[in-house]
């Protein structure tokens, strides 16, 4: 199995795209897209990261095994983030973090310790 040598041209093309991505993400941050701001920032970051993994790290030309390793890492990260966030997203308000200053649920009278 001879290894695949990526030509410098591709490296420079990737570099240029990464620069472009950085530019867009900074520009986008100053526009008001409401809730979409964070989504846009993360999508651009993910595209950039994918380019780095595929070309700089040669994942595109690597054996299946390596690609499986990468997929595993993304999958487990998704489990950790996704399942934890699903708990927070479905908790009632009084069980969210940092509500100590709020009134307790349906207090019949002042809540004093």
């Amino acid at each position: 199995m001879s290894e695949h040598i990526v030509s410098p041209k591709i490296y420079f093309a990737i570099f240029a795209s990464l620069m472009l991505g950085t530019g867009i993400t900074v520009w986008a941050a100053f526009q008001n897209f409401g809730k979409l701001n964070i989504v846009i920032a993360l999508v651009i970051a993910t595209i950039k990261a994918t380019l780095v993994v595929l070309y700089f790290m040669h994942a595109r030309y690597s054996p299946k095994r390596t690609q499986l390793v990468i997929i595993c890492s993304i999958f487990w990260l998704a489990i950790m983030l996704g399942m934890t966030l699903s708990d927070y997203d479905t908790r009632p308000h009084e069980m969210q973090p940092g509500v100590t200053r709020l009134e307790p649920p349906a207090a019949p009278q002042a809540f004093t310790a």
Partner: protein, 243 residues
């Protein structure tokens, strides 16, 4: 285990050795993904709970330095990739040059990070007893733009009306800022150490088209560190910039 030439005793062939080393690094990077993942999760939960405070904290960061550092780090990734390429095609001199360039860019990144940390220290934004979100707008430093300061002051005051615990929640932002960038910087420092080791090897002409595993494996690590920053930059520097 005895070593014959570039081949370690537990392996049968150089190819097996290379495959093993590269798989080893990939598996290590998986653990790194989850290591940083724990911090990203902490960040996500707290940011969604205290978005105002996180926005203000983010706006105190210097976006020019942050974006500049992003460019520097991506450039270092490019030179690292080029170093691997040079080794693969057997241009021994270029290997050294690109490795040194990578190390140089990495050092610049760390230097800029140091400047940013110093700024936060001066502005009383280090989490702990001296932490004060209002300190900087009320104690201008020479060279501060008065317009920006006024803006910052207004922001903090408005936020206080919504979130009386802004000092605590701002501290959470900065704890995470220092935690995440600090951990990232630690990885950069380790990477720089590995680069110095590689540069020594490249001076001795060790890396050839047949044997370039160390360059390739350190390259994987370096690119990973770059990827972490690609996420850190928007998550830490670019919250609520449009305000």
């Amino acid at each position: 285990m005895h070593r014959t030439g570039d081949l370690y005793g537990q392996f049968e062939t150089l190819e097996q050795q290379k495959e093993t080393a590269s798989l080893g690094m990939w598996v290590f990077l998986v653990t790194e993904v989850l290591f940083f993942g724990g911090m990203f999760l902490t960040y996500t939960i707290n940011r969604s709970a205290f978005s105002t405070a996180f926005g203000i904290g983010s706006n105190t960061l210097d976006i020019t330095l942050g974006a500049g550092n992003t460019v520097v780090l991506i450039m270092s990734s490019l030179t690292m990739a080029m170093a691997v390429w040079s080794a693969q095609v057997g241009k021994k001199k270029l290997v050294s040059i690109f490795l040194i360039a990578t190390l140089g860019l990495g050092t610049v990144f760390l230097g800029v990070k140091g400047v940013e940390y110093k700024q936060k220290f001066d502005h009383h934004l280090i989490p702990g007893h001296g932490f004060d979100m209002k300190y900087h707008p009320t104690h201008p430093m020479p060279g501060d733009d008065p317009k920006e300061l006024a803006l910052e002051k207004k922001e903090v005051e408005e936020a206080l009306a919504h979130d009386p615990d802004i000092n605590f929640h701002g501290q959470l932002y900065f704890s995470l800022y220092f935690g995440m960038t600090g951990l990232h910087a630690l990885h950069m420092i380790i990477g720089a150490g590995l680069l110095i080791w590689l540069i020594k090897g490249s001076f001795a002409g060790r890396f050839t088209p047949q044997y370039n595993t160390p360059v390739e494996v350190v390259g994987l690590y370096w690119h990973f560190v770059d990827i972490v920053w690609i996420y850190l930059f928007p998550l830490l520097y670019l919250i609520d910039r449009h305000r």
